[in-house]
Amino acid sequence: MGLFVPALNGMAEMDGSMMASETMASGAETLLRALVAQGVDVIFGYPGGAVLPIYDALFQQDAIRHVLVRHEQAAVHAAEGYARSTGRVGVVLVTSGPGATNAVTGLVDALMDSIPLVCLTGQVPTHLIGNDAFQEADTTGITRQATKHNYLVKQSADLARVVHEAFHVARTGRPGPVLVDLPKDILINPAPYAEPSAAPHASYRPRTTPDPARIAQAVALLKRSERPIVYTGGGVINAGPEAAKLLLEFVRLTGFPCTSTLMGLGAYPASDPQFLGMLGMHGTYEANMVMHDTDVMLNMGARFDDRVTGRLNAFSPGSKKIHADIDPSSINKSVTVDCAIIGDAAETLRALITAWKQDTTPQNRDALAKWWQQIDFWRSKNSLRYTQSRDAGSVIKPQYAIEQLYKATRGRETFVTTEVGQHQMWAAQYFRFDKPNHWLTSGGLGTMGYGLPAAMGVQVAHPDALVIDIAGEASILMNIQEMGTLAQYRLPVKIFILNNQYMGMVRQWQELLHGNRYSESYSAALPDFVKLAESFHAVGLRAETVDDLDRVIAEMLAVDRPVIADICVDQKENVYPMIPSGAAHNEMLLGPEHKAESGGYTGNSVTDEGMVLI
């Protein structure tokens, strides 16, 4: 909108290192200048014809580091890992056509989990667009529903403004991936630079400050509650560490129990007694029973996802629901709520704390004490219980492997990523996260192959931290080529494979829903992961029985190189507790350990309606 600074003004302030002094910078140089202005220090990318001008400009500067991945999908997940673990915008650079289409899975992954990214894609020159030119794809068309927003830069004068705007859109409001498609002529031709505009965007103005009236209404409901619950999600993580601090303050202030979605783990410290563990399909018994029986629920930055609610018409039937979310479209999408608060999670929590203190209504402490008694009873079921035999030669239980890993990592700055499947759920259940931004998993899309590249991105951002990808033997093969990236950049990521020789989550559903017909879910012809690690210049380790486990974990943590630890675990283990699709929270299945108890394991109790759900 004509807000860019005229070219010559911009030129006067340029530092000579990046571009020639008399001529206007090329589009590629202007692009890099805009990236630097946005605070970008690293890009995850893969070159190709359409983006060669950018690679040429990258070669001639050293403000921005480029990490060369082995597949464009991995570049996006790596940028997600970088973004999620730092709170900054992750940046991806790929070429036109196949480069862009390979990135699509990562973009949808970031969209579903609200991860701020800017993905730069090359495009054929403007005059060839629409001609089925070599490596042309309709990238903005393909990614329209895969991004929060996307742009095709058709005029050099728009380039700098669009790049700045892309970062603004990616990181504000509900964060998400933004794609900028860059035709090759735009990259080559001169393009004027413009500083980021301070003026608000014409049409995009997300609301971050909550309505005080709604805050008062929420506090009134919460003060009068007898069986309250705070249910938190990824929105608290996205709002930054300040939001997590305020969450702790609020929960302590009120004395309420707190549960979290898969995406929200770490926002509230898992080792705190007021934390009930994860809720939902594989959540703890106490978290789900609380959700079912609560009278006032405060949803902070979660979205009533179907993995969390179970059967909708049986979801928390007697409760008043307060929903705080930055995205108005999350409100009343699947669950109708009584009090909607639109705003940033940190601002909302701050307002709730202030209003709670100002509201003179006394809290019903007796009712709350009774509620905690009930919760302690549910807790005493110990729904995550399992039995690990210590006899020599015993098979390793996957839950035990995670617990031992967790113990061995105490005291170290540890980030955990996962792939998708049973191992992901066990990681969520048995690894305890006390800080936000240290747990990275593909929640909304459930993308196998996410964990290794995401861990790569985390390690790039945190070179001295311990970064572990808790993986399955099937998922890890989806982006195994990234072992090459780990080697090239000496990223000492630890890949901890819970090798059950099955697509375990698929096998579990086939056992419970499809009469034990294990159709195509056996991981046949697996590679020797130890040799595979070695061929990629990494360390390979294997634990075959319980006797090996602690030694392998210790060795893995001791080396300052990438490691694949192949942990051979019980092939028949299932993830419990489980709310089968189509069931209510209070109809959850407990594991075989609880067979003897009432309300326990009932085997094939999935309803017909449940069958069609996934």
Binding site: G141, R144, H149, K154, R174, H201, Y204, S329
Partner: protein, 165 residues
């Protein structure tokens, strides 16, 4: 279920209509009618009018989802914002002769449809009005030789002083 007439003021940039339509198809919302054209002298803003139907919860979702699109300035549910006017234009070709032809012309006059083209065996009528008026006219023309219809979809605006901006 109810019908909603939603006005959306958008930045007039390439792809904006695809974003709106993609949102409806991707999320399984109905589009009963859709119109779009620039409404500012400088062509910077366009107004999209969508007639849709769904449960109250779905219509609220549609509005929230539209509001989330980056180039969207404003979303207005005209059917909820007090009285509004909604008009559609149709070009209607009726082919026939004899008594049917005379009857078509008489009905067209009653509906204030204009004859904008005529041959010895056909008329093209131009009719403006609320969608149900157009529907009623088309029903009457069907037995009289209705051959072809082109409709614009609904353009809508609030009554009185209030505006979308």
């Amino acid at each position: 279920m109810r019908s909603a007439t939603i006005s959306v003021l958008v930045e007039n940039e390439s792809g904006v209509l695809a974003r709106v339509i993609g949102l409806f198809s991707g999320r399984g919302y109905n589009i009963d009618s859709l119109t779009v054209a620039p409404v500012e002298r400088d062509q910077r803003q366009s107004r999209i009018t969508i007639v849709t139907s769904g449960t109250e919860m779905v219509i609220e979702q549609i509005k929230a989802q539209l509001g989330r699109l980056v180039p969207v300035y404003r979303v207005l549910d005209l059917s909820r914002e007090g009285p509004h006017l909604a008009r559609e234009l149709a070009l209607i070709k009726v082919v026939g002769s004899g008594e049917a032809r005379q009857e078509a012309l008489r009905l067209a006059e009653a509906f204030r449809a204009r004859v904008i083209d005529a041959s010895t065996e056909s008329f093209v009528f131009e009719l403006t009005g609320a969608s149900d008026k157009l529907d009623a006219f088309l029903d009457l023309m069907r037995p009289l030789g209705l051959a072809e219809v082109s409709r614009t979809g609904v353009a809508a605006i609030a009554r009185g002083r209030s505006t979308i901006t």
